[in-house]
Amino acid sequence: MRFEIFKEFFIFFISIGVFLALWEAYYWIFIQNPFVLSPPSKVLVTFVQLIVGDPKFTETGFSMPIDMIYSLYHYLYGFFFAIIVGFSLGLIAGWSKKVEKFLYPIIELIRPIPPIAWIPIAILLLKLTHTAAAFIIFIGAVFPILLNTMYGVSSVEKKYVEAAMTLGATKTTTLLRKVIIPASMPAFFNGLRVGSGVAWMCVVAAELFGVSQYGLGYKIQLARLYHSPDVVISYMLAIGIIGLILDRLYRIAESRLIRWRRGFVVE
């Protein structure tokens, strides 16, 4: 067992190592121009300097922890409203066929529009504000949450509702609270995870357009103007790492909160 884990790690490091080596070689053989691309050895140094706040960078306004906080703020702002709207509409539409039929055309019309296409209207409507960024993130995250919740609610087996009714739960609100919502939690969490992924991508897109002077997405754009590919790639790396951490957090929360799903498929 120990050996297996060791082997996993070994393959992991070999894989990353080969990738970095190829990148480093590519730079030194074909590019050799620090204003166009940086080798991983340089990126690593820059990344650490950005994190710890080396004066070289902070003097020009590049401080990664602050940008992370702003990006997470945009993310949470938009995602919070996406959860509220997505969950409540999904719950109602999943419960009532009439509401579903009414909402369906609206959803299907808006859903295919990429969140990025909303940026101009968000800026016109909300100006260059945090709210404009949150709006883009909201648009990106709300549909996965809404549709998954709706699916979860509408596929709750009738027998659970009937069982609850014969046990005395006859009010609709009680049935929603005690049966429908807990039974559709796995689908809701699925929507949450997918929605979070989209929301995080939208953070970068929204910030690229300069809704605020801070944020990972904004700084990528700014670093390009300064011709600092090492900073660009460092910020890309930060975005990737935070995205990964967010996804892991949802997975952990999911397995904690929905313990009853364990071994369900095996049955």
């Binding site: 659970y160 009937e162 069982a163 046990l167 005395g168 807990p182 039974a183 009853w260």
Partner: protein, 248 residues
């Protein structure tokens, strides 16, 4: 014994895409307080539909069901049901499932917990309070379903072929258990089954239904002493009599 439930001339048909299917054709009988009555009939005869009407989950076309003289219009706290496929809430533990009805009735937490644990003990599941339904065997799940219904202390316990998904040994064991629990709780039980032996083993009276459209063929009194001997002459004779009754 007094009449607790009166079933009056129940008719029910279902619309299939081809035609209207008459399922229950004027069923009438009374259920006495505290008795174990079985509704027996061939598969697909509509006996489950009759039970669902009593539960209030289904509407009859004609006739009425009266509980203590009051007409049943929908599901209520006076009737609890145990389903064939258990219908346990998979997101709740054994304890959580048993607590469900008590939460609905807004019983104070401490009192509810004591009561739930008492009923879990009654069905012989102490030690499994924290298990989830998917971790239990079929027989254990049905015990949970039984405790979940009994803890609500309904006037009538409705059981829809609760043992038919179990293997023969477990089923026999559960029949013995059910009779014991019925003796301890003194509940009125309406028990739907297609198994003649099961009905004869457990019930005080058996409402025998015909093939679809179901009519009441006979209301058979089972005057056998408990615990019943499945291999006694009287037991076997009664089984044969009911068998012939259904065969027509």
């Amino acid at each position: 014994m007094s009449e607790l439930l009166q079933i009056r001339n129940i008719r029910k048909s279902f619309d299939t895409h081809e035609k209207r299917l008459l399922v229950l054709d004027g069923i009438s009988f009374d259920v006495r307080e505290g008795e174990f009555i079985s509704i027996l009939g061939p598969s697909g005869c509509g006996k489950s539909t009759l039970l669902r009407i009593i539960a209030g989950l289904e509407k009859q076309d004609e006739g009425e069901v009266l509980l203590r003289g009051k007409r049943i219009k929908g599901p209520g706290q006076d009737r609890a049901m145990v389903f064939q496929d258990y219908a346990l809430f998979p997101w709740r533990t054994v304890l959580g499932n048993v607590l469900f009805g008590l939460e609905i009735r807004k019983i104070p937490k401490k009192e509810a917990l004591e009561k739930a644990i008492r009923f879990i003990k009654l069905v012989g599941l102490e030690g499994f309070e924290k298990s989830y339904p998917h971790e239990l065997s079929g027989g254990m799940r049905q015990r949970v379903a039984l405790a979940r219904a009994l803890v609500c202390e309904p006037e009538i316990l409705l059981m829809d072929e609760p043992l038919s998904a179990l293997d023969a040994q477990t089923r026999n064991l559960m029949q013995v258990e059910l009779v014991r629990i019925w003796n301890e709780t003194k509940k009125t039980i309406i028990y739907v089954t297609h198994n003649i032996e099961e009905a004869v083993y457990m019930a005080d009276r058996i409402a025998v239904l015909s093939r679809r459209p179901a009519k009441l063929l006979d209301l058979v009194e089972v005057n056998l002493e408990r615990p019943r001997d499945r291999f006694s002459k009287e037991f076997i004779d009664l089984r044969a009599r009911i068998f012939r009754l259904i065969q027509g």
